[in-house]
């Protein structure tokens, strides 16, 4: 494993499987009377959040605490950032406080990568702009493997599974990380989206592209719905929400066209009634609540593998 987790592309197949297998072990912790391990005692994890987030921040915090690390939460609101402090100066402050890992969420694509050059500890990208969100992809892969390959499917990849990622790919860091990671793990990924919501360079991604959702449904093992990110939309990408919902939203009727074993995923937060109907989100096929629980487990695995052993030698700094 590399020292930082900036992009899902940083992970080789064996790295990714090591994380999933470690998560599989750590998942047992949820059933135990004491849901805590002493492994990261004395290590400090800083959650540096420049963008709003509920589940990712709480998930990282729970993961670090279950491994006995000290957690410092930093949100841009109400901090010196509001007074105009730059990312670099904030990073140097954290560095001086002895952070062993910095979990960063930032509105600018590439922020995590920049930060990795300024701090000595590990940098974990918890979402940078429209670029990547690798731990989300890991928890999605973990959820897919548990549901479709069985609990305890250690060492197994996602070979042969067909995953359809639907909706606002253009603004989605989740989609990019998932395409990279799921294809590393052997899944066949198809993006289904209106042409206006696909990035220009999508042709170079390791996936297929379709403008139709309906034709993809019968052959999908997994359908991953993306949130329509209206806060990032600076232009008109589709005529109306209603039209988008009618062509790309997953309603009960569309869900019925999926094979019997197929699952429905959503990274949250959901726009019920836009990309996913409430009945679908609450159905047995939906893994949305499971994804949250698996998020803590997967992030524990990542924190353990990055911080649990020897400190990485200084020569690797900035990698």
């Amino acid at each position: 494993m590399k020292r930082h987790l900036i992009s899902a592309a940083d992970l080789s197949r064996s790295d990714a499987l090591l994380i999933l297998d470690t998560a599989e072990e750590l998942a047992q912790l949820a059933d135990r009377p004491i849901k805590k391990l002493p492994t990261l005692r004395g290590r400090t994890v800083v959650n540096l959040f420049y963008e709003d987030s509920t589940r990712t921040r709480i998930s990282f915090e729970a993961a670090a605490k279950r491994l006995s690390a000290d957690v410092i939460n930093f949100s841009a609101k109400g901090s010196s950032v509001a007074k105009g402090e730059s990312l670099k100066d904030t990073a140097l402050t954290l560095e001086a406080m002895g952070a062993d890992a910095v979990v960063i969420r930032h509105g600018a694509s590439g922020a995590a990568h920049r930060l990795a050059h300024w701090v000595r500890g590990s940098v974990l990208n918890a979402g940078d702009g429209t670029h990547e969100h690798p731990t989300q992809a890991l928890l999605d892969a973990f959820t897919i493997r548990r549901r479709l390959k069985g609990q305890g499917a250690r060492g197994a990849g996602l070979d042969g599974l067909r995953v359809t990622i639907v909706g606002d790919v253009l603004h989605s860091r989740v989609a990019r990380s998932n395409v990279l990671l799921l294809s590393t793990l052997g899944a066949e990924v198809t993006l289904a989206a209106p042409p206006t919501l696909l990035p220009l360079a999508v042709g170079s991604w390791p996936c297929e592209v379709s403008y139709e959702l309906d034709s993809e449904l019968p052959k999908s093992d997994v359908v991953m719905m993306l949130r329509v990110q209206q806060e990032r939309m600076t232009a008109a990408y589709f005529p109306s929400v209603r039209e988008y919902s009618r062509r790309y939203g997953l309603d009960v009727e569309r869900m019925a066209r999926l094979p019997g074993h197929a699952i429905v995923m959503h990274p949250g937060p959901m726009n019920r009634g836009v990309e996913i109907a409430a009945e679908v989100a609450d159905s047995v096929r939906s893994t949305i609540v499971e994804q949250v629980a698996n998020g803590v487990t997967t992030r524990m695995a990542v924190l353990y593998l990055l911080l649990g052993g020897t400190e990485f030698p200084a020569t690797e700094a900035g990698q």
């Binding site: 072990e25 135990r32 391990l37 353990y304 593998l305 052993g309 020897t310």
Partner: protein, 189 residues
């Protein structure tokens, strides 16, 4: 072999226990467990990965055979509780599998292949502490090679093997390595 550079020459690769001796040692330990626990009631066997796990299974099978008991058997990974985590890159975790019913109120017999510094057993005691409250904890090992660094001793020992710290004890078990034997080598630490 490289006898010239070898400070404790003479027993590199020497077989310490063969398959038949391992079988006999485990049979004896199984009897001792029954004796010490008054018939094996409420006993559970937990193997420490990797090679403690098949040893625990073999002991459970033998105890079951002798007394007609169904002895619960599982595994206990200690990686997250080790004191030397920071000396190595992060390692892959072994499996922890508790038999249904857990460890509360039971006599837990920890099973490992080699007892050396005692640090693995210390980690196992800590790990066990987070899983429940056993009535008692005992330790069974196939080989006790001495050089303890902590006040820990085994209750059941297959073979006491005086060693030099430069030597390495290799335990091979059919379930993992395709054959049963214990040898001593001198690549050392």
């Amino acid at each position: 072999m490289c006898a010239a550079s070898n400070p404790v020459a003479g027993r590199d690769g020497l077989a310490v226990l063969d398959a038949e001796e391992i079988r006999r040692a485990l049979t004896r330990i199984a009897h001792e467990i029954l004796e010490r626990t008054h018939g094996g009631d409420e006993v559970i066997l937990l193997g420490i990965p990797t090679r403690g796990v098949p040893l625990a299974r073999r002991l459970a099978a033998r105890v079951g055979e002798f007394e007609g008991l169904d002895v619960p058997c599982g595994s206990l990974d200690v990686t997250m509780h080790r004191d030397d985590l920071r000396l190595h890159p992060a390692r892959a975790l072994g499996r922890t599998d508790l038999p249904p019913g857990g460890v509360d109120g039971r006599t837990v017999v920890l099973v490992d292949d080699v007892l050396y510094s005692g640090r693995t057993v210390r980690a196992a005691l800590d790990a066990l502490n987070d899983l429940g409250r056993p009535r008692a904890v005992q330790l069974a090992v196939l080989v006790d090679r001495g050089h303890r660094e902590l006040p820990i001793r085994a209750d059941y020992v297959g073979k006491n093997l005086p060693t030099s710290q430069r030597e390495v004890v290799h335990v091979l078990l059919t379930e993992i390595d395709g054959q049963d034997n214990v040898t001593i080598g001198d690549e050392g630490r």
